[in-house]
């Protein structure tokens, strides 16, 4: 088994258009959630979200690219450029032949579906652009990353709702760990903040109209975000040999299925994934200093997640910190685990624990140290990142300081 390290990170999300800006915002406890701005927003009952602002695709991408890049692909390529530049890796020869890209997304090109349905149904048009299909397909973003960076190894897209990115990164980790690939580009993206995307979520009646307040007794639901998080996972010796800056080590992962309910989370399923990740990384509960929670701000997730953590960690649960950064960047659905991995890297590298903002009232069912409202300086050696999806599919990653 090979050791796997992260040598590059990139992002775009409501908190910033780069890793540095995002980490600054996370450390400041800044909220990126605000009024949504897009066509027909006035017909929505949910009008807030963590929307990416100031991102002009025109100018960044040429006309031909624009006809092929849905917003989720645009985000992915922007984040991938940052991650690969930071890593300093160049994919050529044998390295290119074996390295690939595994990304997560729940919805893929949602706004392309939305725009084109509107055009044929509402506007009564009978013709759509020839590239609608290659633009909206869930693997479009991964494909464009492979094309842009000459990644010729195993590449595909994983779709497990809110756990998509964590499942993708778990898969990429396994590929590097087993020697199948020397390096993998991985992470995920999502862009559902359009009329149809938000309208579909409204139907579930789990969205908040005012704020995402994970673990707070007065929480009233989730708030959607959008963006991408992309990373370079690389075999440790390969990274060392080329003198790469190592951000942290991916120490282990676990995936589990609740096999119970299509939307209600299960404590047992979550606990099995958390315990599984510790076991896979050969870590003990007392080793973990911080958990980036799934922490959606819904009644169901937060209490189930806290109960699962309490089960796995026993008395150690009182010593660890657990925060949900969704309070700041919103829930990026299939891209959320990727953006949240940045909070894990910040904890390990900089010793800064991102807070859970919007925390107003203690909930006895979430009685853990949720790092309320203000970031904290703390040296931690091991962190976990949780993701628990609709459909009962869970993926937890364990990261370690190098």
């Amino acid at each position: 088994m090979k050791r796997v390290v992260i040598t590059g990170a990139g992002t775009i999300n409501a908190l910033g258009h780069s890793v540095a800006d995002t980490m600054t915002a996370l450390a400041e406890g800044r909220c990126g959630i605000g009024p949504l701005a897009f066509r027909d927003v006035e017909r929505l009952s949910i009008q807030i979200g963590g929307q990416v602002r100031g991102f002009e695709a025109a100018g960044r991408y040429n006309r031909q690219q624009m006809s092929l890049y849905d917003r989720f692909t645009q985000f992915t390529l922007a984040a991938a450029a940052e991650a690969i530049a930071q890593s300093g890796i160049t994919f050529s020869g044998e390295l290119a032949a074996k390295s690939g890209v595994v990304l997560g997304t729940a919805g893929g090109g949602v706004s392309t579906w939305d725009d084109n349905y509107r055009s044929v149904y509402e506007d009564g048009k009978n013709r759509v652009h020839p590239f609608v299909v290659p633009k909206l397909m869930n693997n479009a973003a991964a494909s464009h990353v492979s094309i842009e960076y000459n990644l010729k190894g195993p590449s595909f897209t994983v779709s497990t709702a809110c756990a998509s990115s964590n499942h993708a990164m778990a898969q990429a980790f396994q590929m590097v760990r087993t020697g199948m690939a020397p390096a993998m580009v991985t992470g995920g993206s999502e862009s559902m903040l359009c009329f149809g995307g938000v309208k579909a979520w409204e139907g579930l009646r789990v969205m908040s109209k005012d704020a995402c307040r994970p673990f707070s007794a007065n929480r009233n639901g989730m708030v959607q975000g959008e963006g991408a998080g992309i990373f370079v996972f690389e075999e440790y010796e390969h990274a060392r040999a080329r003198g790469a800056d190592i951000l942290c080590e991916v120490a282990g992962c676990a995936m589990s299925s609740d096999a119970t309910d299509i939307v209600m989370p299960s404590k047992n399923g979550a606990a099995r994934a958390i315990a599984g990740a510790l076991n896979d990384a050969r870590l003990n509960p007392e080793d973990v200093g911080y958990i980036n929670a799934h922490g959606t701000g819904t009644a169901a997730n937060d209490k189930t997640e806290c109960a699962a953590v309490a089960d796995v960690f026993g008395p150690c649960a009182d010593k660890l910190m657990i925060s949900s950064t969704k309070s700041m960047h919103g829930h990026l659905i299939g891209g959320t685990g990727a953006v949240e991995l940045l909070a894990c890297i910040m904890a390990l590298r900089d010793g800064v624990i991102a807070p859970t903002i919007g925390y107003e009232e203690a909930d006895p069912e979430c009685a853990l140290d949720v790092v309320p409202n203000e970031a904290r300086n703390a040296a931690v050696d091991v962190v976990l990142s949780n993701a628990f999806a609709f459909g009962g599919m869970n993926a937890v990653l364990a990261l370690r300081k190098v």
Binding site: R205, V206, S208, G221, M264, T298, A299
Partner: protein, 86 residues
């Protein structure tokens, strides 16, 4: 059909029961309707009466929609029909 009969019909269908098995005193719990069934029932009520029901599944008891019994649901729907008329 009256508002009461319509609501009982919607709830009965959701609970997979005969309308005669649903009374105004029934609670959703009695009828075996869980949180998903509740959200579907509210959707059916909104569609039937063309109203918007203020309900957030994260704070079911805090919403402006009392779901403690069928008669309470009927009361609220009748109020919403008046408020949202026209």
């Amino acid at each position: 059909m009256s508002v009461t009969d319509k609501i009982i019909e919607i709830i009965a269908e959701q609970a997979v029961l005969e309308t005669s098995d649903v009374t105004k005193e029934s609670t959703l719990e009695d009828l075996g309707i869980d949180s998903l069934g509740l959200v579907e029932s509210i959707y059916a009520i909104e569609e039937e009466f063309d109203i918007t029901v203020p309900f957030n599944a994260n704070e079911p008891t805090n919403s402006d929609f009392d779901i403690s019994s069928i008669s309470k649901i009927i009361e609220v729907v009748e109020r919403l029909l008046k408020e949202q008329a026209g």
